[in-house]
Amino acid sequence: YTTTMTATAPSPSPAKRRQPRSRQQRHRHCHRQPPRILLLLFVFSLLLSTHAQQSQSNPAEFNGGSILAMAGRNSIAIATDSRFGLGFQTVSANTNTAASPTKRLFLPPDTHSTMVAWTGLLGDGTTFSEELSALLANKARRAGGMAFPNDRDDDDDDGRGTRRNREMSPGAVATIASHLLYRRRSAPYYVETVVAGLEDVRVPIVWMEEEEEEKGQGKEERKAESSKTIYGDIEGEMTNARATSITGSDRVSHRELPMQSLLRTATTSPGTPPRQRHRHRHRQTRTIRKPYLCTTDMLGARSTSDSFVCSGVASRSLHGTAEALWRPELEGEELVEVCGKAFVSALERDCLSGYGAVVYLIRAVGEEGDVEIWEYVLDCRND
């Protein structure tokens, strides 16, 4: 027998069709099913495939908005757009200025170098940011009340000083944000957050400048290796670094160098005066400010990165542009430019984001770990 695929004529309605009797008829009956199913699937996919149409019913994309955060040398740039809409309709374009009460990007209380930003449903996001701020302020208040009046000790094991001087690290803020989101597991907040900041990291001090130059070759090799992976093995490097400091060796080993080269601070003299060396045999460490980037999804699953994170309706495009334009060791205005360019070019292709872009630059200056935050307002297409 021949099997015929009738791709055009739709089969008769199921109520009227009877079970085919002969084997030949049954075979043909089976073959006639797929085209109808394919047709239905095709129609459904047309209906649901357009991103914009899906956004009308998807709470996470209903209000629009996107965020991109990029890491550079001792600095972070976060870009966010200003559109607030109800589906296709744009309601306002001043989401992130000082005038608007709901900011998609804010500085949590008691942190000087962390910024939290979110995309998604505006109502849920505002509630979430209020909850997060209240929780952090509460913690800070409780911690401050229990502090003992010690001076900050530079020779501290922990290196963080007393509680009073300690601020919450961006990793901790990200963890808290993730827990807050997971608390609502049954009825989640339609919010995807981005936490970006500079965290203090202990790193052994490089004593000799000659050794640095000598091992310059090794430095470059290591740098190339570690910058190949986007999600670098920070923990591995950290434990290596700490291990060498505990053994009390004054010499610089190869394994310490990658950290040094990627994460140099603004300190000019790598070596401290010899008297300190005599005082403390081991634990010659100093603190550097390392960029920390983390994004969470709606339920609080965190993912961190060394290079960039993005979130929001334009995140697909943002992944592409940021991947293409990011390079390591960006700093200052250059970082802002790269981040802004990647951000704006992705936004231009997305109808649910845009109407103004603001880039914040968090930058560590000086030795004390002071942090400056600069705001840059960019022009972009208003459509």
Binding site: N63, F84, S92, N94, A99, P101, T102, G123
Partner: protein
């Protein structure tokens, strides 16, 4: 059509007013639209007493805090918080525009647009419901910084004319209220809300 003269703009406090749009039960429950209704349907008075949630809570704050009035910004945040809290329990399906006058705010007046999902935006002009499709573009064009009351009312009247002309489901009765340093007053009412 049940009623042609429902006044949907509730006076929250002496210097702020809130316009609500949505199903009537939620409207009345959420704001204080029970004011006129108690006169009209006295047998439903106990029900209406429960229906003034936002305005009575604001009045309570004033009473418990030595006569300190909440600013428009604070009222808007409170309103948004209530909408957000109710969202996952039993949502008020009301879309709200809240406007008020504060002395220490640069321009004096501030306007907040909220929707039933709990989002709140401070805007220069706003519209909720089907009207927004027609009127937002008119206001985009006509609004500018530093309008006085007369010009603002003219823009609103322009919007109303546009709706009369272009909107299929249009109702022809509109009420225009103004909030300024002297409080809330009705500028124009096409039909008397207290009519039976």
């Amino acid at each position: 059509m049940y009623q042609q003269n429902l006044d949907k703009i509730a006076e929250l406090s002496s210097h702020s007013a809130m316009g609500v749009s949505g199903p009537n039960c939620d409207l009345v429950n959420f704001s204080e639209l029970g004011t006129g209704l108690s006169d009209v349907t006295p047998h439903l008075a106990p029900y209406h007493d429960q229906c003034r949630y936002i305005s009575k809570n604001l009045a309570l704050y004033e009473l418990s805090n030595d006569g300190m009035k909440l600013s428009t910004h604070a009222q808007a945040n409170f309103c948004r918080g209530e909408l957000a809290k109710a969202l996952r329990k039993g949502p008020f399906q009301v879309n709200v525009i809240l406007g008020g006058y504060d002395e220490n705010v640069p321009n004096g007046g501030s306007l907040y647009v909220m929707d039933y999902l709990g989002s709140c935006q401070k805007v220069n002009y706003g519209a909720q419901g089907y009207a927004s499709n027609f009127t937002l573009s008119i206001m985009d064009r006509d609004w500018e910084e530093g309008l006085n009351e007369e010009q603002a009312v003219k823009i609103v009247e322009h919007c109303i004319r546009e709706l009369n002309m272009r909107f299929l489901l249009n109702q022809s009765n509109f009420i225009i209220k103004v909030v300024d340093k002297d409080g809330v007053r009705t500028v124009k009412a096409d039909s008397d809300p207290t009519d039976n």
